[in-house]
Symmetry: C2
Subunit: 592 residues, 2 copies
């Protein structure tokens, strides 16, 4: 790490202040910003590599353009930190007490210089098209600039945006920040074209952006602020759509991040020692659902099964470490940020006799509703999908995992399973991979890893069979997936307060009801409570409410409200939604 | 129309028979197929232009390749008729009694030569990638051929498929059927590149497909069977991904279809007279929701509002006729088949002060879940979305409109409105366009057009306020949107059978409950029934069941089952789901 020699940042409180700086000052400012970003991320974690790569670009953009009159739309927000420094939020980096004051994403509620809340990829060009079109309709006159990383280009929406953007007969500037990386290594044919453009200094005739109708400029040194300023000056106020392809270095200024780009895309706290060297950091320690999955896949491959482990660009977040990718070889495929393709690809591979297993995050499976419905469910393709990072959480509003049950479970033909422990998970995975009848999705528990030490002997091909874990009376607790533990605690509470034994049920199936079991409960129960780790609207519990609608059975559904929470501590969310044994007991009392 | 001079078709019962034909016989076969397709479509309606354009391609494909060992994946199914002729299903065309025997889409249940059920666009390349990957993993050896129209190329999933397909180090053949049209006129920068490639006989260096890493061949006369056969022979068994770009004529062989390509993309019955000339056919007669919308948009534009009417490639299906597009000029935008872009584009335009209104079909809004959630809802952008062709229907399994309520209404921040008549629709549209607080979606009624003759004075900015249309006792009927009429009939039945007046409620809001009103019903009601024109799972009624779960109120939800129906007559669907006044009354009696 270079030392911070001056203090230019102290003079910069808004984009206007950037315009007063000299080139040498801007170079110093870059160093100061890098140092502060690294120190902060090493304390609280965050996107490291993308932000280190885009410092000069951000300074040059604010030097040349006039935000907020000119509109910046940064894709996906993995590169928003330098922008936050320059737009009144540097205290979120300079003062450790304020490290958590601002979100790690763009948010218009924080600053007029943030145009949208953004956290999913590949949207910037379409959003910029909308801003440009509104500008034109209203007879206004300003620049609209989308800044999109090469990783985001692989998402279909980015293509749709470029294809449509090229038709605008007015100002639209698309900065392509090419750091030769997606979250992991770039995938897909497009990246060979970007490489060709880099090799030819942008001169190759075969040019993806020109093929879509854009004017085009290439900048080889995308980390030189002076070059960038000169380029942006040229395209400012341009009267037609243009791509500015800049070549930057992901992780620039931090040696380990330059070397191990994927590991430093998102960095855990305390990854660096006091000399800014990398410590050995293991993301998922001990036995966990990711390690179980990896072992399962490798075993299947060794048994000669045509297993196909698919991940859309997030292997690091789901524990598919490099060793596993290497061992799986052709049986592993990272499709890049292309979730729609992932589902259709897996659907077809399953139909053709391969055994595809997709590992995806709850927040990102949202990007594939139509493929889940049409390619997968309608065709009853026996692909397996592991839905990770599910449930209510303290996550940013753009990365919530509490919507997958309503999204997935109301599509016909899908079998969505909710294991409560290691043994059930493995049995479900085995079932999913071996069967040929249904698309099978598994909601991988995220809250806790539980080893029951007892083999699960359930036959999951008998669909929608709930399991009575303890037979009781009066109250039945239907506790889904990783809220099963909560269900156990609620039952304990009931036993000690009411002196009767309630019935505890592990439903296991999210996508269908066990009508016979529910019907039988009517005999000696008067209340059913349901627990699910996600929003209630359109979810699991409401189906049980509907089932009992014409009977005397009372039903209470527990889960989350239909809202976008934003970094709300999980204990607050639990309290607000009555998701503690104590609060649930109070609600039971009010009915009883 | 040329006359059918020979009868080659009688010799063709399977793809094997195609291989025995001479070139002149194949030319005659093309004419025979065209004549029979036109005659059938003129009786039952169907996709005319795309099928007329691809006759020779289909014959040449079956001549050169060996289906079902070699795998064809035709995109979107708009061009499946010639394939059905050659794969054992010609009786669906030769015998008018069998016109409805086969679906108008691909369906593996009909034939081993159909690889998937397909009806939504842009999926073929991803599906072909999956088939190719499974082949490679299993050590098999056959051709995988995706056939994709130029219109489908604008969808993001097609790009994702091409981008990933280029990485396959094995056989993958993508036939791009370039007929210079989407459903309506092609939109987007890509089509200029296709035009350049046509003009240069495929020689231009700037080539979209090459930029994505594909090998490439161009065929100028894509309606000459001999040229096509020679080309396909060249690429058969190729060991890497290649695009075969063929230039065809949409509507070929039917003069009006060649001239008016959009009108004949999907043709209504009896569009042609006995001389195969076009009759004047008006798709949506009289005053209807589409004409109301058109008039509204034109009026807003004339008042100087920055209105932006957006349609993703289906203006014909939502009544946006050419006159309206012309009158709206820059205030209208067909974004092509690019639904994700449409939502993000509108979200941003709304944020920037324009007044976007998207017209889309229920079946296709599925393609935008993540954009509805992230770009629109999370940002609370005040765009308006008209959801058309909603509800249970006799449609093909790929085009059902009964899933939009579960998909949309469980996303936070969205306001989804259900008008029951013309006046409510106009008032809601006016509200949606004028307000700045929420994304507003309107579920445009499809079953009936009802003019209440009474102005709607509701203030829709007061959210989730249900309307009591008739105040009664004992039973409350909550009848949503275009099932309000059914609710009226149910109330009539109750009155005559039970001799009391039930309460009739028009909820108007799908996305939130009127807790106060529902609470008040407890005073003198013991049963609430809900009616919704869509599937029940995750829908509107279940939320009311949940609401009453801890009370003595009984609830019955009426709507559809969570299944993909496939051309099931609507009266059968209604009966199966108890959606007639008589059957609903029986269910009420069983509770009462």
């Amino acid at each position: 790490m270079e030392k911070v020699m001056t203090n230019v940042l102290s003079k910069v409180n808004s984009p206007q202040d950037v315009k007063k700086l000299s080139i040498p000052e801007m170079r110093d400012l870059s160093s100061e910003i890098r140092k502060l970003m690294i120190d902060k991320v090493n304390v609280i974690g965050g996107h490291m590599g993308p932000n280190l790569g885009i410092v000069e670009t951000t300074i040059a953009l604010h030097y040349v353009f006039n935000s907020p009159q000119d509109k910046f739309v940064f894709d996906v927000s993995h590169q928003c930190y330098p922008h936050k420094f320059l737009t009144g939020r540097k205290e979120g980096f300079t003062n450790p007490d304020n490290y958590l004051k601002f979100t790690g994403y763009f948010n218009p509620e924080e600053s007029e210089h943030d145009t949208f809340k953004i956290g999913h990829t590949s949207t910037s060009v379409s959003l910029a098209c909308g801003l440009a079109k509104a500008r034109d309709l209203k007879g206004e006159n300003h620049n609209v600039i989308a800044i999109i990383g090469d990783g985001s280009l692989s998402g279909g929406e980015a293509f749709e945006g470029l294809d449509n953007g090229a038709d605008l007969n007015s100002n639209l500037i698309v900065i392509v920040n090419d750091n030769e990386m997606s979250i992991a290594v770039n995938q897909g044919g497009l990246y060979k074209n970007l490489a060709l453009l880099r090799q030819t200094n942008g001169q190759a005739e075969c040019n993806y952006f020109k093929a879509l109708g854009f004017d085009y400029i290439y900048v080889e040194d995308g980390n030189d602020v002076e070059t960038l300023i000169n380029t942006f000056e040229k395209v400012k106020d341009i009267n037609h759509p243009i791509v500015v392809h800049i070549h930057t270095l992901k992780g620039k200024g931090l040696a380990p991040a330059e070397e191990r780009k994927e590991d430093f895309h998102w960095m855990l706290p305390e990854t660096l020692d006091e000399n800014y060297n990398a410590r050995e950091v293991i993301r998922f320690k001990g036995e966990n659902y990711f390690s179980l999955t990896n072992d399962f896949m490798i075993k299947k491959k060794s048994e000669g099964e045509p297993i196909l482990f698919i991940c859309p660009a997030t292997p690091g977040a789901t524990g598919i470490v490099q060793r596993v990718r290497d061992e799986l070889g052709d049986n592993y495929r990272d499709v890049g940020i292309a979730e729609e393709h992932a589902i259709a690809f897996a659907s077809a591979a399953a139909k053709a006799g391969a055994k595809p297993v997709i590992s995806i995050l709850s927040s990102f499976i949202q990007r594939t509703y139509d493929q889940l419905s049409q390619d997968l469910a309608l065709n009853n393709s026996p692909a397996v999908i592991l839905v990770n990072w599910c449930g209510l959480s303290n996550a940013d509003a753009t990365h919530l995992g509490c919507f997958d049950i309503p999204m997935i479970s109301n599509i016909p033909n899908l079998v969505y399973l909710a294991p409560t422990n290691k043994q059930e998970y493995l049995k479900m995975l085995e079932y999913g991979v071996n069967q040929k009848e249904h698309p099978v999705l598994i909601r991988v528990p995220f809250v806790n890893f539980i080893d029951s030490k007892q083999e699960d002997t359930t036959d999951y091909s008998i669909l929608n069979k709930f399991k009575i874990v303890e037979k009781g009376e009066k109250v039945a607790v239907v506790a889904l997936g990783d809220f099963f533990e909560l269900g156990e605690k609620v039952c304990e509470k009931i036993k000690s307060e009411f002196e009767f034994t309630p019935t505890l049920i592990n439903p296991k199936f999210i996508t269908g009801l066990d009508s016979e079991l529910l019907e039988n409960l009517k005999q000696n129960h008067k209340l059913v409570i349901t627990l699910e780790n996600g929003i209630l609207d359109g979810g699991f519990g409401e189906k049980i409410s509907r089932f009992y609608g014409n009977s005397d059975m009372k039903v209470l559904n527990f889960g989350g409200k239909k809202i976008f929470t934003d970094r709300v501590p999980i204990d607050v969310i639990y309290r607000q939604n009555h998701l503690t044994p104590e609060l649930i007991l109070e609600d039971i009392k009010s009915v009883f």
